[in-house]
Amino acid sequence: MNLSTSDIQFSYAGGSALRFPDIALEAGQQALLLGQSGSGKTTLLHLMAGLLRPQSGSVRLGGTDMYGMSETQLDSFRGRHIGLIFQVPHFVRALTVGENLSLAQKLAGVSEDDDLIDQMLDLVGLSAKKARKMHQLSQGEKQRVSIIRGLIHRPKLILADEPTSALDDANCEAVINLISNEAEKIGASLIVVTHDNRLTSRFSHQIRLNS
């Protein structure tokens, strides 16, 4: 699905209006969204993800005007078609690794596929941790689980927010390769939001935000 934003504007209460450049992404295309801290990267990511309603302008994914939908419709649209990967991974604490992944499938509205979960865990070398509670995992392991959680329902658009900023060089490359390769495998578009310059060489399509 192709993503396009046109003329989106957002202002926080008491702050000045943020204007964002129009973004157009073909289906399967990958891009880097670069900007300094405070340039509104995360805000733009949330606007594109359907988490934050812009004051004006529109966000279209696969021809659907996301903010033309009701809140509930938007929740299920997002769940089904968008995968988000966060800088700091969070999970439902009461559940195990496997249960968190299966919950992600359930909430996305796809069938709960245990084989796929095993396959994905195997991919990131965490098969043995499937039945562990989240707090028993290391930070790096959590990060990997959060990446496969963003992919497990085969979304059309993957949005990753600073996925590598806390990682050393070796891990940084492994993680970005994983996200990029898996996105390609399932034919999803990918936007990585970052201020991490290590990634600039990895993506040809780059969008810069100026504060």
Binding site: A49, R78, G79, F86
Partner: protein, 456 residues
């Protein structure tokens, strides 16, 4: 992963606060249920034991005590009356009275009361024999179902009665011929199950033996109000000394009696012993009319006896019990409210920790209403579980209480009887769970995902 399973897991992710809510909730429910059960069954028991007895006539004293003693067998007698005094009511041709059943109370066997009476006593409670036969001779007894079961009594068994109502070996009447069990009654669920019945004259003969053969018995006699009038020292020649018959000293007795053969099985035979005593007379009218209405007053005013109406006295017992029950009920309701609050606060505080988690679920596709339902489900789970545990505790508690109360108060409570009110309590429990979780659920509903996720 169903929603209910997710709610369940969320609940037990905080085991201590879940446990606290659960304990409080089941305590509140349990206490209310126990009150319901006990109150319902006590009322039922009291009503069943009223047995359509319209009037009790006995010695002057507290009317409530007289009724508790002679009908419910929980209090000491107010004293005795002579057959002569009650003779008008024993007359089978009395125009107003359908049944007049004498009771002679004061002795027991292993704390179970022995009641000297006529066969009609069992008829008051629709009692029937399970085994054996009714008594025909003195010192033959028919045993209530609960007594027989508890003391493992069989037809043909013999025992010695003891004086008063305590199980005290010092007070055993060890000089008379033992009682012989000739029959065992079927269970009726009434006080009849908890007593031992015999001839009125059996009680006389037991006491006559005591007084004749054992002068210590007089000391015992003063222990019990029932026997305060039994002053048979043998020096009293005012007409009571017929008790000394075994010494051959019936100089001026009005009636010739042989202790071993009173043989009073009906009221007409009782009338042959005007100087003997009974504790009370239980009366059932033919019809309630103007004359029966004035009967108690005329007895109270014109005789040395008192007459009391069981329904009236029992309603006084209820009103006295009522204030205690009220207080307990208020405590139970307070606990229920506190447990509701505990659910409320524990959900609210868990929400603070789970804000990010809930936003995440929104991101992954759960609509707001789903999150609302999830939190409500968590509250309802505590309520439902607390209700089930509370109910179970209440019935187990009643069961434990029932085994004690049956000995002390001659009641058989059935702990495994479920009341329609309990279903209503289930509904109320769920309602409390719902109310307690609505505000936290609403908070979950309006979580701002963008700002929560931005805070990281």
């Amino acid at each position: 992963m169903s929603w209910i399973r997710l709610a369940w897991k969320n609940l037990w992710a905080r085991p201590l606060s879940a446990l606290l809510s659960l304990i409080l909730f089941s305590l509140g429910i349990g206490l209310i249920t126990v009150l319901l059960l006990v109150n319902n069954q006590l009322t039922k028991n009291f009503d069943r034991n009223l047995a359509d007895i319209d009037l009790v006539i006995g010695a002057k004293g507290s009317p409530m005590q007289m009724i508790l003693c002679n009908m419910y067998h929980v209090d000491a007698p107010t004293g005795n009356v002579t057959i002569k005094e009650v003779s008008p009511f024993l007359n089978p041709k009395h125009p107003l009275i359908e049944m007049a059943v004498p009771t002679s109370i004061g002795d027991s066997y292993k704390t179970y009361r022995i009641i000297g009476t006529t066969h009609e006593y069992a008829r008051l409670y629709d009692g029937e024999l399970a085994q054996g036969r009714w008594w025909t001779e003195d010192l033959e007894v028919v045993v209530g179902a609960a007594v027989a079961k508890k003391l493992h009594i069989h037809v043909g068994d013999q025992f010695m009665s003891s004086h008063g109502f305590d199980d005290n070996s010092d007070l055993v009447h060890d000089h008379h011929t033992p009682f012989t069990v000739v029959g065992i009654m079927k269970g009726t669920g009434s006080v009849l199950d908890q007593v031992i019945l015999t001839n009125t004259s059996s009680v006389w003969s037991v006491h006559d033996h005591d007084h004749d053969d054992d002068h210590e018995a007089e000391a015992h006699a003063s222990d019990s109000m029932a026997h305060e009038d039994h002053d048979h020292s043998g020096h009293d020649h005012s007409g009571h000394d017929h008790h000394d018959h075994d010494h051959g000293a019936h100089v001026h007795t009005t009636v010739e009696v042989d202790a071993s053969d009173f043989g009073t099985v009906n009221n007409a035979q009782l009338l042959d012993h005007p100087e003997e005593e009974i504790t009370a007379l239980l009366i059932r009218y033919k019809n309630n009319n103007f004359q029966t209405m004035s009967m108690p007053r005329s007895i109270n005013e014109n005789t040395d006896m008192q007459a009391a109406s069981p329904p009236y006295e029992i309603s006084r017992v209820y009103s006295m019990m009522g204030s205690g029950t009220e207080a307990l009920r208020a405590i139970a309701i307070l606990i229920a409210i506190v447990s509701g609050l505990s659910i409320f606060f524990s959900l609210l505080s868990s929400l603070k920790d789970r804000k990010y988690e809930l936003s995440l679920m929104r991101v992954m596709g759960a609509g707001r209403s789903r999150l609302f339902l999830l939190i409500v489900l968590e509250g309802l789970l505590v309520a439902a579980l607390g209700f089930v545990i509370g109910l179970l505790l209440a019935h187990i508690g009643t069961w434990a209480f029932a085994s004690r109360i049956s000995e002390q108060f001659r009641y058989s409570l059935s702990a495994w009887e479920f009341l329609p009110a309990e279903a209503w309590m289930g509904l109320i429990a769920l309602l409390i769970g719902l109310v307690a979780s609505v505000i936290p659920a609403w908070q979950a509903y309006k979580t701002d995902i963008h700002s929560t996720l931005s805070e990281g």
